[in-house]
Symmetry: C3
Subunit: 260 residues, 3 copies
């Protein structure tokens, strides 16, 4: 599935720089079903990196938006009837038009209904699953180590992008770790949601979902480190990371990247 370009190759900082360059050049349209808390920051993160966000949830038109997009994000952060209905239509449209999508199963560790819904969605073909350790443990029933995420990725034919002090990415055959990031990222709401949206943006320009996911996590981690250099707290950090995403170029990305 994901073996197009880099099967057998490790992920490199140069791959991430190449993906970043294509996002800037092509401006992929990313349709986002995401929670109300995250919508504004997510849209701004996508614009900062050069993608074009749309956010409608209306059942009557979401199919049209997804069909014309290069990638789709499904984030479960606020899990209401409108979003449930929108998700069903969007995922069907994505499948019909071969639009890649990423699932962010926010807070599945807090509600069994939400976990059940996430498991059902995982069966419907997301290319990538971006989540944190507690969410992975809830969905898989296993501790989130290298073996568990590789097995889960293989079993479900998707790429797992696990956020943490070090991010881990696995597609069942390959494995990457991303050592970039900063503790202030955990102090800004919607940072993980925005990271998932950047995974979608990268999926819009890179067929290899493993490379796209690792690239996105590298980009957001590096932007976080650059933002932390000037931030005075989480308020100014949230502003500075948008600036950093906008100003990030390939050489800077490669000089900061800790991906392998």
């Amino acid at each position: 599935m994901q073996q197009s370009r880099t099967t057998g190759r490790d992920m490199t900082a140069q791959d991430a720089a190449s993906v970043l360059d294509r996002v800037r050049t092509r401006g992929p349209r990313v349709h986002c079903i995401t929670n109300a808390v995250a919508q504004n920051f997510t849209a701004n993160a996508l614009l900062a990196i050069g993608a074009v966000p749309s956010m409608t949830l209306a059942a009557e038109e979401i199919g049209a938006f997804v069909t014309r997009a290069q990638a789709l994000l499904v984030n479960l952060g606020t899990f209401d009837r409108e979003r449930l209905e929108a998700t069903a239509i969007a995922v069907q449209s994505a499948a019909a038009h071969n639009v890649p999508w990423v699932l962010d199963p926010v807070f599945v560790d807090r509600s069994e209904q939400r976990a059940a819904f996430a498991r059902d969605l995982i069966g419907q073909g997301p290319r990538a699953l971006r989540l944190n350790r507690a969410e992975f443990a809830t969905l898989s029933g296993n501790e989130p180590d290298r073996f568990a995420i590789a097995a889960y990725a293989r079993g479900h034919q998707l790429v797992v992008g696990l956020s943490g002090a070090t991010d881990l990415v696995a597609d069942g055959e390959r494995f990457a770790s991303v050592g970039n990031g900063h503790p202030l990222m955990a102090k800004v709401t919607a940072m993980g949601c925005a990271a998932s949206a950047l995974v979608a943006a990268c999926l819009g320009v890179e067929e290899d979902a493993f490379c796209a996911t690792a690239s996105a996590l590298t980009i957001v981690g590096v932007a976080g480190e650059i933002a932390a250099e000037t931030a005075k707290g989480p308020g100014s950090f949230a502003v500075a990371i948008l600036d950093a995403l906008h100003n990030l170029d390939g050489p800077t990305l490669m000089s900061y990247a800790k991906v392998n």
Copy 2:
């Protein structure tokens, strides 16, 4: 309709300064039906300029809010059933109480249902229509040049405020161009939505919708230029434009304004 004060007169920077002064002094209440992505930034832009925003969509109470407001914004950015129902009630209340309103037909170029809904709303008496080139082309079927927007404004008895590198404003008899603004404005989500909200704020203190629309676009364009002087990217730009809107005074506005 819009011929109260300045019929036959060109739009001047001094007119914009006068409108700004009245917004500051009177603090018009602006009720906003707008998309979830834009709500926070729009409310902050209105507060920064001295207006008083409200945002409820509840069918049971939106009539009361509109009736007590000096202007109404209808933005189609997230076009769901709740907002459809809210819009129907709000537009009726606005007509019944002579509350001026502005329509922002976000993304009508992406969905035919949305374009049809916008056309229906245009028949219900908005004083101003603020939109971008792709949206105008979709609604009018014409390229957005001076003649087309003047013809559209005349035909629909409203003011067209068209955003672009140079903003164009027409009411069918008069024509203004606003050369202010900055490319970073396109890199922040909800910037156009906030501009439409400022049009509403200006409509709340200025009966001449042509003057109100041109004033609002001048104010937001000038604030954008001032913000860009210190911004390091789209994150800090979004912050700085709120500061600039708050700090803008008549003399500064006139010294930057490129309206004629």
Copy 3:
């Protein structure tokens, strides 16, 4: 009811510092039913102070979130059917599991339906009611002076936290005034909503609702003063107050606090 720790004692800056310290150490989970305009800023304010926000409104899962939270916020800023239904379930869950909650009756002065709903909620046992002068006048039918808020607090067995140039806090027996704050706080949307969320965070670590409410209003007022020292307008102020909340420590809080 609220007489656990400090009955008969005045509120001191040291009490506020102690509450702040416990929020930082324990990281209380705060579930928020709040309006779409305020969700992002509220979540960031809670994270900045060390609390853990959640925001879902889905009827199917809100009970699970409230049950696992240390405090609940009910804010009426956007008063739609989804939030009405969510509130009914959340308030029941809070009562069943002894989770303290705070009510913020935003804009009850603008809509009679909203005021009626707020009155009904006040009968269901909130520990604290945070509101402004116009909202208090609407709910109580009285001018918001010391006697009126003390009488209202006693009659409804809750703590009233009234925002203004000087904040007033009363539980019917005790009385505190908080002289901290800055005029720019009125120029940023959702600032009052975030203050109410901080009241909830403090209720999550302090049983005495009078002390929790006065502490939260002191913390947010001091953070506002610190933010104003560097802010250039409401945009940078909103950023700086999140930084200030994050960086605030006990000694700094005590040196700024004007609570008695």
